[in-house]
Amino acid sequence: MSAKPKDLRAAGPVRYMNPIVEIENLTKHYWKGDQIVPVLADINLVIREGDFLALMGPSGSGKSTLLNLIAGLDRPTGGVLRVGGINIAELPESSLTDWRSEHVGFIFQFYNLMPVLTAFENVELPLLLTGLSKRERREHVELVLELVGLTDRMDHYPSQLSGGQQQRVAIARALVVDPALIVADEPTGDLDRVSAEEVLELMEHLNLNLGKTIIMVTHDQRAAAKAHAIRHLDKGVLTDDPSGTD
């Protein structure tokens, strides 16, 4: 572990110390026909509020699977998975969907913007699930677009934006409902160095100044260096000593 995160944490307020993600003996396997494909084995992990965690590991090691589990996109095979004190593994599908919309922001490798919606509309999308008025929605959207520095591009369609700009729109979309947790699956995986740097700085800003808890899967050492802590997955097993990050 680098010294940097520890220093920052030491300087940070006490309220950041509550665990937001608690994982105990988590396992996940898929079925391929009648064959079991083990993906995650006996994962134990605690992530605290305000953490910025990087998940690394070889391709196929289960990083995305773990991230999806934490974000409530998939269901574990066994173990305990509490996010924000709620055992999300036990939520019925529709409650889980509602829970995601309130508590988790998503950033994907390929941005996953709706190509037929403008930057503004893409960011507005998650707000449609809230009871906000049109005017309130506009205010929120403009606020986050300003934060990611794309106010002048809000009427552009994704195809009219560079990769880095699209990813910043995606970050704005993840941010607009003000979730406590942001999950990012290789957010810089499709970007050149300059754009990647911009995106990482933005995420660092969200973490440091807005107090967002971020879990980021990445292959990129430079990206991981922004995090407070790095955990490695190998063949479905967390290999680092857990005490290092706790």
Binding site: L73, D74, S94, E102, V116, L129
Partner: protein, 386 residues
């Protein structure tokens, strides 16, 4: 939700070529459907235009055997029968076999009384009744062949051999749209006098009697009364309502009508499959987008609205275009058919059915893709390359 319908519309126009081709397919299918249904309707038009107050008496054995004119007086005696006329199918050829139109030898005065829906000016009516060589024609028929009053119309006899010619004394129009305006009517006396000289055994005979009854509700009772009168005679009669009589003709071609109806539904079924394919393709390409929407927190009903909205917008939009296009198409066809069908118009039922079919096309096309999208695991959807 409104936002989602807008999104659905925008999705629709992502593949302009694919959408246009599918829309074109639906338009053509609906036009074909409407035209086929209209042909079927046209077939039944004769039965539609009937009156509940008219009965038709014919030979019980077959329509091709005539009845003696002497029956007329006995039928008139029956209480409840308030009018009587008669007619013979003439079946002549006007210049060429292809120029088909129905011709009847009738008793002018009583016949026009029984068919008030054939509207003729007083002067034309008197002129027709007075001239034994005279004839009248429906408006559509006269238009088709460019006849004017005073023209001599030659007909070559088939059932009644020889060359016949008539002077057009009047052109009637129908009181209602459904009234047959393609008939050619001339004096029964004219026919009968000639037969007396050339073929006396066939003289003094009529094809059918047309009876007017005082109340539609007495049709069955009065039909019985007429038929009982001629029981066990040489020519027994069969009396039925005008509608039943006309439907009897339709029944002869029932098989063709059933075939046409089946084809009209097959057309719809084919376009349903085409449309379902379009929707399946579109939704498969967008798996990652739908998964993203789910990840962000949109539940099944939003995805259903998105997919159903896109599907219905396409099918109903094209369906309406198809129905609009069916009118000029039916016009062209009606002109081509000429006097073959007395009435060839798209009915409101056909329009309703066309709209219903459009909805059904959109609905069935969306069901399977929507179900797939809704049940597809988010984490897998996010993996798909789109």
């Amino acid at each position: 939700m409104l936002f989602f319908l807008r999104l659905a519309l925008r999705n629709l126009f992502r593949h302009k070529l694919r959408t246009s081709l599918t829309a074109l397919g639906i338009v053509i299918a609906i036009v074909a459907f409407a035209l086929l249904r209209t042909v079927v309707d046209a077939w039944y038009a004769g039965a539609e235009a009937t009156s509940a107050n008219r009965l038709i008496t014919r030979n019980a054995i077959s329509l091709i055997f005539p009845l003696p004119i002497s029956y007329a007086n006995r039928i008139r005696q029956i209480d409840g029968i308030t009018g009587l006329s008669y007619s013979n199918w003439f079946g002549g050829v006007y210049i060429d076999e292809r120029n088909f139109f129905p011709q009847f030898a009738i008793e002018p005065k009583s016949y026009l009384e029984l068919y008030p829906e054939f509207i003729l000016s007083e002067t034309e009516k008197t002129a027709f009744i007075k001239d034994r060589k005279g004839a009248i024609a429906g408006r559509k028929l006269a238009e088709e062949y460019g006849w004017k009053i005073g023209d001599v119309i030659p007909l070559r006899g088939t059932i009644y051999s020889g060359s016949w010619s008539f002077v057009l004394r009047g052109i009637y129009r129908g009181a209602e749209r459904k009234t047959d305006e393609t008939l050619f009517l001339f004096h029964w006396d004219n026919l009968n006098e000639t037969l007396k000289k050339t073929d006396p055994s066939r003289a003094e005979r009529v094809g059918v009697f047309v009876l007017r009854i005082d109340r539609g509700g007495r049709a069955a009772e009065l039909s019985d009364a007429v038929d009982r009168l001629f029981e066990n005679s040489l020519a027994e009669t069969l009396t039925e309502t005008e509608e039943a009589f006309q439907l009897g003709f339709v029944a002869m071609t029932e098989a063709i009508l059933v075939a046409i109806k089946i084809v009209s539904f097959v057309v719809i079924a084919i376009i349903m499959a085409v449309m379902a394919n379009t929707m399946a393709m579109s939704t498969r390409e967008r798996r990652r987008e739908y998964a993203t929407l789910k990840a962000v927190g949109f539940g099944s009903r939003y995805l259903l609205a998105l997919i159903l909205g896109e599907s219905l917008a396409l099918s109903i939009g094209s369906g309406i275009l198809g129905i609009l296009a069916a009118f000029p198409a039916a016009g062209i066809l009606a002109a081509k058919f000429g006097t073959l069908f007395p009435v060839f118009e798209i009915s409101s039922r056909t329009i309703q059915f066309g709209l219903f079919a459009s909805c059904l096309i959109g609905l069935t096309a969306a069901v399977f893709p929507a179900w797939r999208v809704i049940t597809f695991p988010v984490s897998e959807g996010l993996r798909s390359i789109g």
